[in-house]
């Protein structure tokens, strides 16, 4: 009986915006070749392709260890073979919006650590910035190479029921996930080759080249072949695969804190030949752990003295320390103002409306309407420290209300969005599941937006939380080129 089910015959888009189907159950024009190819497969065939994709990920060792499991069980980050498709015109708008946003945020960070004009002009309350845990005094007056602070960004976008993309979060520190974009694509191409070939899907494989250019641009001009390294916390970090993968793709050194030492304010690698000078560090450890002599003393991951070497201009760090001030969830609410202030332009991509709990009037509204809102701790990521009002119990709301009253600066609230959905293989059926998407942006000589991104999918029915730590999986994101332009 189930034999016929694993295709789109019984698929219901429901009352949400659906990434592949319209409200009448017809495939969007741009996703039709994909739907047709999947519908032409037998039940077993689609299942076989899903299994083959999972096996490939397992063999590549793109796995994470199950915490607390001594038997060494390892799992792959769940991958669904039905891709999400974004047509060229929509993407063009996203790309323009992201470039505008990163340019403005970069100017903002530079201003905050220098003249603070935006605070003096009272566009943003001074307290909100100076009270942030992400404001680093150590960065005041710093001039990073080429005035770029935000080199690598992964911005989370969601689509509401109206089909409009909203920015949900700017990740300006150490955004991860791009390796999944590249590996998912490699596997996806094998899964639906015909649809892929006919739909003019844009390439993502050259991301490492763009990343290398971005990093190289940070080295002083007179250094012809700069020494560039990726700094990783090591193999027990959940993103270690990505660090190794990017190092391998760019052919650069993957270093741990213990491989590096600062001598005379220069950063050195410990090599079999002795010490070797480093010019650029793509660091994948947080600000807090970067330098035990400046930030957390107990950090074993960082390098003592690296901040001093950086301040003296003897090396470049990507991303620059201090960026957290611009992706603080309370500061997020002001990004539209930030864009207007620095660029004199209207934001191309809208924000999700955000209530700042520190503001008394807004806080009162939040406390009165908790069951309708999503409340987030401003300084946490990964889906932790979150209250989803409509799905919460009375006691959860009460305990959150207490937390908000105790530390209003630490919380913001947003209306619950009806995230768009994308068809996903669930057991023996295809069902709609909520998704977001994280495009990756590189800021070097110019701003580059990778035409693709990590689509994360909440595999649990009805769930809006897409984070991998909370039962999320991923999908390939097919950004289509316009006719004759791929």
């Amino acid at each position: 009986m189930k034999e016929t089910n694993l295709n789109f015959d019984n698929y219901k888009a429901g009352s949400f915006y659906d990434e592949l189907f319209d409200q009448n159950g017809q495939a969007h024009l741009h996703s039709k070749p994909l739907i047709d190819q999947i519908n032409a497969l037998s039940h077993k065939d689609l299942r076989r392709r899903q299994k083959a994709a999972e096996l490939a990920l397992h063999q590549l060792g793109i796995t994470f260890s199950v915490y607390g499991d001594k038997k060494g069980t390892e799992k792959i980050f769940p991958f669904d073979v039905i891709p999400r498709v974004i047509p060229a015109s929509e993407w063009q708008n996203i790309e323009n919006g992201l470039k505008q946003r990163i340019e403005a945020l970069n100017l903002f960070v530079d201003d905050i650590y220098h003249d603070k004009k935006i605070l003096k002009d009272k566009i943003i309350p001074q307290d909100l910035i100076l009270s942030s845990k992400c404001y680093l005094k150590e960065c005041e007056g710093l001039n990073p190479p080429r005035k770029i602070w935000i080199h690598i960004t992964g911005t989370d976008l969601v689509r509401d029921v109206d089909g409009v993309f909203y920015v949900l979060e700017d990740n300006l520190r150490c955004p991860s996930g791009v390796s999944y974009v590249l590996e998912n694509r490699a596997i996806q191409k094998r899964t639906f080759p015909q649809a892929f070939a006919t739909m003019n899907v844009r390439r993502v494989a050259d991301y490492p080249d763009h990343l290398y250019d971005t990093l190289k641009y940070l080295a002083p001009d007179h250094i012809e072949k700069p020494k560039i390294v990726i700094l990783t916390p090591g193999i027990y970090n959940s993103a270690y695969f990505e660090h190794a993968y990017l190092a391998q793709q760019m052919g650069i050194t993957l270093a741990q804190g213990s491989d590096l030492v600062v001598e005379n304010d220069e950063l050195m690698l410990r090599t079999t030949k002795g010490f070797e000078k480093v010019d650029v560090v793509y660091r994948r450890i947080d600000d807090d752990f970067l330098d035990p002599s400046v930030f957390r003393e107990d950090s074993l991951l960082g390098v003592k003295g690296i901040m001093n070497a950086y301040r003296k201009g003897n090396l470049a760090l990507a991303n620059a320390p201090g960026n957290g001030i611009a992706d603080d969830k309370a500061v997020y609410a002001y990004v539209p103002e930030i864009i207007k202030y620095y660029l004199g332009e209207e934001p191309i991509l809208p924000n999700v409306h955000t209530y700042i709990c520190e503001d008394k009037k807004q806080r009162d509204y939040v406390l009165d309407n908790l069951e309708k809102l999503v409340v987030k701790a401003v300084n946490q990521s990964g889906g932790y420290g979150m209250l989803i009002g409509p799905k919460s119990t009375r006691s959860e709301r009460e305990s959150f209300a207490e937390k908000i009253k105790a530390n209003p600066r630490d919380y913001i609230a947003q209306p619950t969005l009806s995230l768009s959905r994308c068809p996903t293989i669930i057991g023996d059926d295809i069902e709609g599941r909520h998704v977001d998407v994280r495009p990756y942006i590189l800021y070097g000589k110019s701003i580059f937006v990778l035409p693709g991104g990590l689509t994360r999918v909440a595999l649990v029915k009805g769930s809006l939380v897409v984070n991998s730590s909370q039962g999320g999986g991923s999908k390939d994101t097919w950004v289509l080129g316009s006719e004759g332009n791929s």
């Binding site: 063999q59 590549l60 050194t253 090599t271 079999t272």
Partner: protein, 312 residues
């Protein structure tokens, strides 16, 4: 290259080689049962424990020594740091830290082998282990092929080869030492039919039987000892391993311009082999000879560590 990376590649390679050696030793012993079990009370398992160097650990945790326990101790026991399972786990952890240096397929080969033995270790019925040992040998051959065909001839390759050759020289030496002791307990066995079968097994343990035959045609302990210690062309003889390790050390020294004596120490081992012969070694005591050899091999290992891995 990074000191840490060089160290990891060296140990990745040693652990792979170690797993391969143990798999060969057990595999041959299991097959030996088919030849002699009817005549002799039991196939000797104790020498395998002795050759592993972990007999103290074994007797601490196992009351009796028999096939089942020895096989488990050497293959799946995760408390034994030198069991095949532990070695492959360690090879994989080291490979993981150098993923960006080694060919992706090499990582995948080691990763798949790890998942294979993990799965095997969880089987309730482990009565047929021959496919497991066959897989370990096959994977190791694939790994060697990838190293030969896909890696730059740079430091990484030479550290890898250095680890492999030092480990291999050590294992061949141990095997010979232990077997010699056990196979020559009483004069009447020498050159008896059993003797030929058992020494044949020693050769098979290091995949040497066929190559040995080409040169010596018949099996006896003197010729086997000569072949495994001195043969310049057999890839698992001690002499060959020492020469290869020395050549890789030379290449590393040229590339790094660092020489804190590792090459000199290795050259001493080469000299030690050059200045003696099998008859002299057997007359003066094989065990004593191998003891000195291993002592000096450990010194080489320590000097390599100080020269290249430990940068203060």
């Amino acid at each position: 290259m990074l000191s840490r990376v060089a160290n990891s590649i060296y140990w990745m390679s040693r652990y792979l080689e170690r797993a391969d050696s143990i798999a060969r030793f057990i595999d041959v012993n299991l097959k030996l049962i088919l030849d002699i079990a009817l005549d002799r009370e039991n196939v000797q398992w104790q020498p395998l424990v002795l050759a592993s160097g972990d007999e103290a650990d074994f007797f601490k945790r196992y009351k009796t020594l028999d096939q089942k326990r020895v096989v488990h101790f050497l293959t799946f026991d995760n408390l034994n740091p030198n069991s095949i399972l532990s070695c492959i786990l360690n090879a994989r952890e080291n490979a993981r830290t150098v993923r960006e240096i080694i060919p992706t397929e090499l990582w995948e080969t080691i990763n798949e082998l790890y998942h294979f033995i993990q799965k095997y270790s969880k089987k309730r019925q482990k009565d047929n282990l021959l496919p497991l040992y066959a897989q370990i040998k096959a994977s190791n051959n694939v790994a060697c092929g990838l190293v030969a065909n896909a890696m730059l001839r740079d430091q990484a390759l030479h550290f890898l080869r250095l680890g492999q050759m030092i480990e291999r020289a050590d294992k061949t030496a141990r095997l010979l030492d232990v077997k010699y002791f056990h196979l020559l307990p009483s004069p009447e066995y020498v050159d008896s039919p059993y003797d030929a079968v058992e020494w044949g097994a020693v050769l098979r343990s290091v995949s040497a039987f066929q190559m040995y035959r080409k040169k010596y045609h018949q099996v006896n302990y003197r010729d086997v000892s000569e072949f495994l210690i001195f043969d310049p062309f057999f890839p698992r003889s001690i002499n060959y391993c020492v020469n290869q390790a020395l050549s890789s050390l030379g290449a590393i020294t040229d590339m790094t311009k660092v020489d804190m004596g590792a090459k000199g120490e290795m050259a001493k081992l080469q000299q030690m082999l050059l200045l003696t012969s099998v008859d002299k070694v057997l007359a003066e005591g094989l065990h004593e000879f191998i003891d000195i050899f291993q002592f000096n091999l450990n010194i080489v290992d320590q000097v390599i560590y100080r020269s290249f891995f430990e940068l203060k």
